[in-house]
Symmetry: C2
DNA sequence: CTGTTAGCGCTTTCAT
DNA sequence: ATGAAAGCGCTAACAG
């Protein structure tokens, strides 16, 4: 920066100000000088060092984000929504994935916090006590998403996975289905999947239907192949099953494909429903009944909330914990 | 850190050393003291501030990564491979997406470089002159991936998209197909897609087949819906078409589904091939012929190469530019 | 509007 | 093995 300043014939501070966000729209001569500074930066190949700026001001300009995996369009869309909501603010996302392993969250959160993010977004409402303690000690706004935790750490932007899958069960019931199975994981590593299963079981009970056959296809992430295997198991186990609710659309698509390979008519003989409104479920034949979650909307809402919370925190008084309940929508389509 | 030091009764330096990576395996009394430091950190809720450490040492501990979009499992797997290769080193990924917009690359690279990453991975070999200049001025190792650029900036880990799609065309020819179409984007925003189309066209010419009907379905990212539309257009345009090569598996899956909706038998009447070996192509019925790219392997190779290059750069003499050509594999399956 | 000064919290270096 | 001191490059605060 000193080099650039010398090159233009001004002080470092003038360069710093010219490069600061919102440095446009000044008096004409100042604007001209600013352009000279920018030109000099380009000529000298100088890019401002935010590493130093962040350290000096105590404001890192980072928002930390924890998601289970990148390889799931529900979560990547949430990240896209977060990016969209925050990019104008100059804050950058610092992304980390747990790959659905509970033991990874704590070191990941520690690694993220070591970069002194100004806020953090979690895709979960389930954490170890140490993780909670770390997050609380960090004294930054926290947003938990994709669930509605009973005891939120701070803010929440989520929905009830159980209520959503219950809605699917009621839809299946309304379509005349009576023997309804659940295919998915039953692992605490995926609390959202667990919630969906519980919602299914409760709804069946409430409707006076027999308890679901639950097919546990293993650990998350649940693949299409696991969905196919799950369907194969289900057909062994119960010949009279007439509907299967799957933990996610990829799982449901795998199950559907297995039916196609076996010549089982969907939805005539067997109805299949998924969860999450993934692209594959909109494109396949028959199209999958599912629950549409506004993934990008969760990201945007979390981002906007976090920006407000960060601004409040900078102003000295933290934003009182907010709880944003996002809508979900049953998408009744051809597979049921 | 001073608080922790006081709490344990040692100096800041002792705390710093206890918290440094590779601080394990010391003499017993030291190890004990180290444990006391760690306990104090937990008790006080202290997490080390890498913001200051990075600034002080001039080593940010970041690797910057630029990908077109998160919402594509090919790229997210590459990121997973990168993570796997680099996580033991203590370097963290700083991820940015261009969303396939050429104008976004330059500000994104600038934003990433402002965090002083120690290396950068790009998912592209096509850049504006200013972007190239910035990258060169940053004097850090650069790895371009997913292509084989003619004039690499530094290192390359990629493969020939054209050669890969040519292999698919030869496969279709060997299966007796003669009128072969290409469905995909023809936008410079997706140089890999363009390369695939060119490879297809050249292979047809080399085989003495008629030029491909090229269906341009618009800007990337190419969705399943666009693939379906593309197939609809293709069937309007040329009733005698007997094969369609799609720019990616999602596009091919959309095309396949459109055929299913129209009662067009795949592969009997029309063969369909995709690209990228996405999960959907392995799971659908019929399974899609495609080109398997080792996405995670590209990420791992890029990560390992970058670690070597960073180590060399720290040692003072940069690693001479490497070019790693990754294999691809034709996966002949049911759709052809 | 521009310039000067001080200081952010670590780690490197050097001394003990 | 531990401690003391210096310094990384920027920006907040204040002065001109």
């Amino acid at each position: 920066m000193a080099d650039v300043a010398r090159h233009v014939g001004v002080s470092k501070m003038t360069v710093s100000r010219a490069l600061a966000p919102g440095a446009a729209a000044r008096r004409a001569d100042t604007a001209l000088r600013r352009q000279r500074v920018l030109d000099a930066c380009e000529e000298l190949g100088y890019v401002i060092d935010r590493t130093a700026g962040a350290f000096g001001t105590g404001r890192s300009g980072f928002i930390a984000v924890v998601i289970p995996t990148l390889n799931n369009s529900n979560f990547s869309e949430t990240v896209q929504g977060l990016t969209a909501a925050t990019e104008a603010s100059g804050l950058q996302l610092l992304l980390g994935t747990t790959e659905y392993r509970a033991t990874r969250e704590e070191p990941l959160v520690r690694a993220l916090l070591s970069r002194r993010p100004e806020g953090i977004v979690l895709t979960s409402g389930t954490h170890t006590p140490r993780t909670r303690a770390m997050l609380q000690a960090a004294r930054i706004p926290v947003v938990e998403t994709w669930e509605l935790p009973r005891a939120p750490i701070d803010h929440v932007v989520g929905f009830s996975n159980a209520a959503a899958s219950a809605a699917v069960v009621r839809h299946l019931h309304a379509q005349g289905r009576r023997r309804i199975a659940f295919i998915g994981g039953t692992s605490p590593l995926d609390p959202r999947g667990m919630d969906r299963r519980r919602g299914c079981e409760r709804a069946l009970k409430a409707l006076g239907l027999p308890a679901a056959v639950v097919i546990d296809v293993g650990e998350p992430p649940i693949s299409m192949a696991q969905g196919a295997l799950g369907m194969a198991q289900l057909l062994e186990l119960d010949k009279d099953i007439d509907a299967a609710l799957c933990v996610s659309d990829p799982c449901a698509f795998g199950a559907l494909s297995e039916c196609q390979r076996r010549g089982i008519a969907v939805p005539q003989r067997l109805a299949i429903a998924g969860f999450g409104d993934f692209e594959v479920g909109r494109g396949c034949v028959p199209r999958l009944t599912t629950v549409a979650v506004d993934c990008a909307g969760i990201g945007r809402a979390a981002g906007e909330l976090l920006l407000r919370a960060i601004a409040s925190a900078r102003g000295g008084r933290p934003l009182t914990p907010q709880k944003v309940v996002m809508p979900f929508q049953l998408m009744a389509r051809d597979s049921t």
